[in-house]
C-alpha cells in the first residue's frame, strides 16, 4: 500500500497551489509514489473521509495558508492529528506573509476599511455577522479571528518550506528527497528543519556587484533616473531585503532589477530579522555618526513594513501588541 499524501490551503492566495502544479511531470511522481487522499484543488475533497482515517495515517501533508478564521484552525488540528509529517508550506503558513500585516489592525478597523470604502453604499453600516437570522432561518460564516496566526502557532509542525510561493524547482527537489526516503535511499532531516531553501542569504546568490559603496540616503526605486543593472541595489540606495533573507529563489527579484522584499523569510540563524536587516542597511551608510545614521534610516518610508512585510504574524511584534 502506498503512503498517503495530502495538501491543504487555509487563508492563502492559491499561488502555492500554482507553484506545485508548475512542477509539471513531477506531479506524476507524486501520484506514482503516494496515494493522494486529500487535495481540494486537484481532487474531490472529502473531509469526512479524512476524519475517518486513523490518527497519523497520512504520511505527508503540505499545509499552506495562514490561520485567519475558525475553519482554518479546525482544519489545522484535524490534519495535524491525521498526519505523521506536517509541513508548513509557503510564507503564509510559515510566518503569516502579507496577510499577516493585518495583525497591526483590529477587526473593526479591517471591517471599516472593507465595508465602508468609497465605492460601498452602506448607509446602515452593515458588517458581516458570524451568525445571522434571516426570515428563512439562520446563516453562518466562520468567525474572523482578531489576529492571523502561523501554522506552528496553532499546532506542532515538523518541517518548513518557505517562499511566497516556494519556487517550483525547490518543491520538486523536496519531493524527490521524500521519495528517496521512502525507497530507503535517504534519511529524513531532523524535525524542525527548513526544506527547499539554502542556508545562505539572497545576497549570496545575487549576481550584482558589491563595491562597498556607501550611501548618504535611501532612495525610492521609482525616483532613480536609471537602475544600474550590475551594481548592488542597496548600494544604489534601494532598500533591498537580500542581506537578511533566506536564499531559495536564486535572487530572482534583484536579477530582474527589483529589490528583494523578503518572501523567503529570515536567513538561517537569523533570530531577529529586523535587527539583521537594519544592521545591513547601517553598514552601507556613509557615516560614523550614530545620529546621522539614525536620520538616514528614518528616511525609509515604511520601517515597520520593511522589517515585518512577510513575518509580522511570526514576529515579536505580535506578542508586544498582545501585551499592551
Amino acid at each position: 500500500m502506498k503512503p498517503k499524501f495530502a495538501m491543504y490551503w487555509a487563508a492563502s492566495c492559491g499561488g502555492c497551489e500554482i507553484a506545485v502544479l508548475n512542477i509539471h511531470e513531477k506531479i506524476l511522481d507524486v501520484d506514482a509514489n503516494f496515494e493522494v487522499v486529500f487535495w481540494p484543488v486537484a481532487m474531490d475533497a472529502k473531509i469526512k473521509d479524512v476524519e475517518a482515517l486513523p490518527d497519523g495515517d497520512i504520511l505527508l501533508t503540505l499545509f499552506n495558508g495562514g490561520i485567519r478564521n475558525a475553519e482554518n484552525e479546525h482544519m489545522a488540528h484535524l490534519l495535524r492529528r491525521k498526519s505523521k509529517i506536517l509541513v508548513a508550506f509557503g510564507s503564509c503558513a510559515n510566518e503569516g506573509c502579507i496577510p499577516g500585516l493585518a495583525n497591526l489592525s483590529s477587526q473593526e478597523e479591517i471591517f471599516d476599511a472593507v465595508y465602508a470604502g468609497v465605492s460601498t453604499n452602506n448607509p446602515l453600516r452593515v458588517r458581516p455577522q458570524f451568525n445571522w437570522q434571516i426570515p428563512e432561518g439562520e446563516l453562518h460564516i466562520p468567525e474572523f479571528y482578531p489576529v492571523l496566526r502561523t501554522l506552528d502557532q496553532v499546532v506542532n509542525v515538523d518541517y518548513y518550506i518557505p517562499g511566497c510561493p516556494p519556487e517550483s524547482h525547490q518543491i520538486a527537489a523536496v519531493i524527490d528527497h521524500v521519495i528517496q526516503v521512502l525507497q530507503g535511499k535517504a534519511e529524513l532531516p531532523p524535525p524542525g528543519s527548513v526544506l527547499g531553501a539554502n542556508g545562505t542569504t539572497v545576497c549570496d546568490e545575487c549576481t550584482r556587484r558589491r563595491n562597498v559603496k556607501m550611501i548618504k540616503k535611501f532612495r525610492r526605486i521609482q525616483e532613480l533616473p536609471e537602475i544600474d543593472p550590475t551594481l548592488c541595489l542597496l548600494e544604489q540606495g534601494i532598500p533591498c531585503n537580500g542581506p537578511a533573507t533566506r536564499n531559495g529563489c536564486g535572487a530572482l527579484c534583484p536579477k530582474a532589477g527589483a529589490q528583494c522584499i523578503g518572501c523567503y523569510g529570515p536567513a538561517a540563524g537569523v533570530v531577529d530579522y529586523g535587527a539583521r536587516l537594519i544592521a545591513a542597511f547601517a553598514s552601507v551608510i556613509d557615516s560614523n555618526d550614530p545620529q546621522e545614521i539614525d536620520r538616514i534610516l528614518d528616511g525609509l518610508p515604511d520601517p515597520a513594513g520593511q522589517i515585518y512585510r512577510f513575518n509580522l504574524a511570526k514576529s515579536l511584534l505580535r506578542k508586544a501588541r498582545k501585551e499592551v
Binding site: 490551503w9 487563508a11 492566495c13 492559491g14 499561488g15 497551489e17 500554482i18 507553484a19 481540494p40 484543488v41 475533497a45 473531509i47 495558508g65 485567519r68 475553519e71 482554518n72 482544519m75 506573509c97 502579507i98 496577510p99 500585516l101 493585518a102 497591526l104 489592525s105 479591517i110 476599511a113 470604502g117 468609497v118 465605492s119 460601498t120 453604499n121 452602506n122 452593515v126 458588517r127 458581516p128 445571522w132 428563512e136 432561518g137 446563516l139 460564516i141 466562520p142 474572523f144 511566497c164 510561493p165 517550483s168 525610492r220 521609482q222 532613480l224 537602475i227 543593472p229 530572482l252 527579484c253 530582474a256 532589477g257 527589483a258 522584499i261 518610508p301 515604511d302 515597520a304 513594513g305
Partner: protein, 491 residues
C-alpha cells in the same frame, strides 16, 4: 421549512457555500451564496509605500497576480500623474497578453471546456482534462502544457518571476528585454496564435456542429439579461491593459464609458451581513435585488461581457471570430449575447486576440528600447488603476501622503463583479430543479456546476480557491433542520 446546503467549492473549508431554503409547498423560498472568508488588504496596505503595491496586492490572488500587479502599477502611474514610456507600457501589455493565453488555456481545457468536449451528460469522472485528452488525443495535452509553459516563460522574462511578478513600478519597469529574448518571445507567440486557432476550430467541430450542444447554449436554462462592462480602446475594441470601461445595457445599447478614475460614478457595492464579499452593481441604474432586466443594476464582467461591451477586436483573426460569434448566436439582432454558456466561446476568441496581440507587441520596433521608465516628479495624492482581469474589470484606488505612502485603499476585484449574477444563476438552477418538494438532484448539481464554470469564478481573488474546482455537497434538511439526504458530486 426545508433547508438545502451546498458547499460548492470545498465544503467546510470556507471557500463558498450555497444555502437553499424551501417554502411549505416545497418550492424555493430563497437562496444564499456565501463567501466565508476575508483577509482585509484594503486595511493593511495602508502605511505601505506605493511602489510596493504591485508586489503586495499580487498576494490577493496567486491565480491572477499579474492582473493585480498591473492594476497596482497603473494606479501608481496615475498617482504620480506619470506616463510611462511607450516601451514600458508595451512590455507590460506583452506580459499581460501572455498571461491571458496561459489563463484562458487553463480554463478552457482543464475547467470549463470538458463540459463541452465530453458532453454535459458524460460521467463526472470523465469531464476533466484527462477525459479531453482521451477523446481528442494525447497530443492535445502536450499542446496545453506547452501553451501554459510559454505563457509563464514570457511572464518570467518580463516580470522576473513566474508567480508574483516584480518588475512594474510607478512610471514603468525595472528592466527591459534583449533582442534575443524578443526573438524567443515572438516565436512562442506565433505558436500561441496557431494554438488559439486550433482551439477555436476544436470548439467549432465539437460544439457548433453539434445541434444538441448548440441548443443547450441557446436555451433559456442559462440565460440572464443583465448589463455588461468591459474595457475598450479608443475605437471601442476590446483591450485588456488600458482604455475606458464601456457599459452596455441588456438591450445592447451602450449607456456610457468611464475612465478608471470615474469608477465611483458608475459602480457601487452593496454589503450583506451573511457574507464577507460585497455585491457591486451599476450605481446609475440602482440595486433592485438579484434580478435581470433594464431596471436592475446587476452587471456581468466576463469574456462574454467584454465582447458585448465592445464593437470589435483589435486584431484581424480575432475580429473574424468575433463577427462569426454574433452572426451565429444573434443573427440580425442587436449585438448582445445573454447566453451564459457562450462565455466559453467568447473566452477562446479572447485567447486568439491575446495571442495575436502578443505577436504584435513582440514585433513592435520599440519593444527592445532601453527607455522603460519615466521618473515621477509630481507630488502623489490619489490615483486609480484599472485592467481587465480574465474574470472581470479590476480596479485599484489609492490615496497617499506626499511621500507616496498609502493612507487609504479601495479595491474592486475581478470575480467580485460577478457575485450577484452568479448568485442569480444559482437561484435559477434551484428553481428549475426543485419543484413541489421534488429535488432533481443530479440536474441541480450539474446545472449549478456548469453555470459556475461559465463565469470561471476565482474566489482566490475574493477568498482563495482556484477557479473551476467545484466539488459539491448538498444537504437536504426537513422542517426540523434534520438532514434527510446527503448528495455529492465532484469534478
Amino acid at each position: 421549512m426545508q433547508r438545502i446546503t451546498i458547499d460548492p467549492i470545498t465544503r467546510l473549508e470556507g471557500h463558498g457555500k450555497i444555502e437553499i431554503f424551501l417554502d411549505e409547498a416545497g418550492n424555493v423560498a430563497n437562496t444564499y451564496f456565501q463567501i466565508p472568508e476575508l483577509r482585509g488588504f484594503e486595511r493593511f496596505c495602508v502605511g505601505r509605500p506605493v511602489e510596493e503595491m504591485p508586489l503586495l496586492t499580487g498576494r490577493i490572488c496567486g491565480v491572477c497576480p499579474e492582473a493585480h500587479h498591473m492594476a497596482a502599477a497603473k494606479a501608481g502611474d496615475a498617482l504620480y500623474q506619470v506616463d510611462p514610456p511607450p516601451t514600458a507600457k508595451k512590455l507590460r501589455e506583452l506580459l499581460y497578453s501572455a498571461f491571458y493565453v496561459t489563463d484562458h488555456t487553463t480554463h478552457f481545457y482543464a475547467l470549463g471546456g470538458p463540459d463541452f468536449v465530453m458532453g454535459p451528460d458524460a460521467p463526472v469522472a470523465e469531464r476533466n482534462i484527462l477525459g479531453v485528452i482521451h477523446k481528442v488525443g494525447l497530443e492535445i495535452g502536450g499542446k496545453v502544457i506547452q501553451a501554459r509553459k510559454y505563457g509563464h516563460n514570457v511572464i518570467e522574462m518580463i516580470g522576473g518571476r513566474k508567480v508574483h511578478p516584480c518588475t512594474s513600478i510607478p512610471g514603468g519597469l525595472t528592466k527591459g528585454i534583449t533582442e534575443e529574448q524578443r526573438r524567443e518571445i515572438e516565436e512562442m507567440g506565433r505558436w500561441a496564435v496557431e494554438f488559439a486557432q486550433f482551439s477555436l476550430q476544436l470548439f467549432d467541430d465539437l460544439v457548433l456542429k453539434n445541434q444538441a450542444y448548440l441548443e443547450l447554449v441557446l436555451g433559456d436554462i442559462y440565460l440572464h439579461q443583465t448589463y455588461y462592462i468591459g474595457m475598450v480602446d479608443e475605437q471601442n475594441r476590446v483591450n485588456f491593459y488600458d482604455g475606458k470601461i464601456s457599459v452596455v445595457a441588456p438591450n445592447g445599447e451602450r449607456i456610457g464609458k468611464y475612465a478608471a478614475h470615474e469608477y465611483t460614478d458608475w459602480i457601487a457595492e452593496r454589503v450583506e451581513p451573511w457574507t464577507y464579499l460585497k455585491f457591486p452593481y451599476l450605481k446609475k441604474v440602482g440595486w433592485r435585488g438579484f434580478v435581470d432586466g433594464m431596471e436592475s443594476g446587476v452587471y456581468c464582467a466576463t469574456p462574454l461581457s467584454r465582447l458585448n461591451a465592445a464593437d470589435g477586436m483589435a486584431t484581424p483573426l480575432a475580429q473574424e471570430a468575433y463577427e462569426r460569434f454574433y452572426e451565429t448566436l444573434v443573427p440580425g439582432q442587436p449585438k448582445v449575447v445573454h447566453h451564459r454558456l457562450a462565455t466559453h466561446w467568447a473566452r477562446l476568441i479572447e485567447l486568439l486576440y491575446a495571442a495575436e496581440r502578443w505577436v504584435e507587441l513582440a514585433t513592435d520596433p520599440e519593444i527592445t528600447s532601453p527607455n522603460i521608465h519615466t521618473v515621477p516628479t509630481a507630488k502623489p495624492t490619489e490615483g486609480v488603476g484599472c485592467v481587465e482581469a480574465p474574470r472581470g474589470t479590476l480596479t485599484h484606488h489609492y490615496w497617499t501622503d506626499e511621500r507616496g505612502v498609502l493612507t487609504r485603499v479601495n479595491l474592486i476585484v475581478g470575480t467580485t463583479n460577478n457575485y450577484a449574477p452568479i448568485s442569480m444563476s444559482v437561484k435559477k438552477a434551484a428553481q428549475n430543479f426543485i419543484k413541489n418538494g421534488v429535488v432533481v438532484t443530479e440536474g441541480l448539481l450539474n446545472r449549478i456546476e456548469m453555470a459556475f464554470r461559465a463565469y470561471d469564478p476565482c474566489f482566490g481573488c475574493a477568498t482563495h480557491s482556484l477557479p473551476g474546482q467545484m466539488p459539491m455537497e448538498v444537504v437536504i434538511r426537513d422542517a426540523q433542520g434534520q438532514p434527510i439526504d446527503v448528495l455529492r458530486q465532484y469534478c
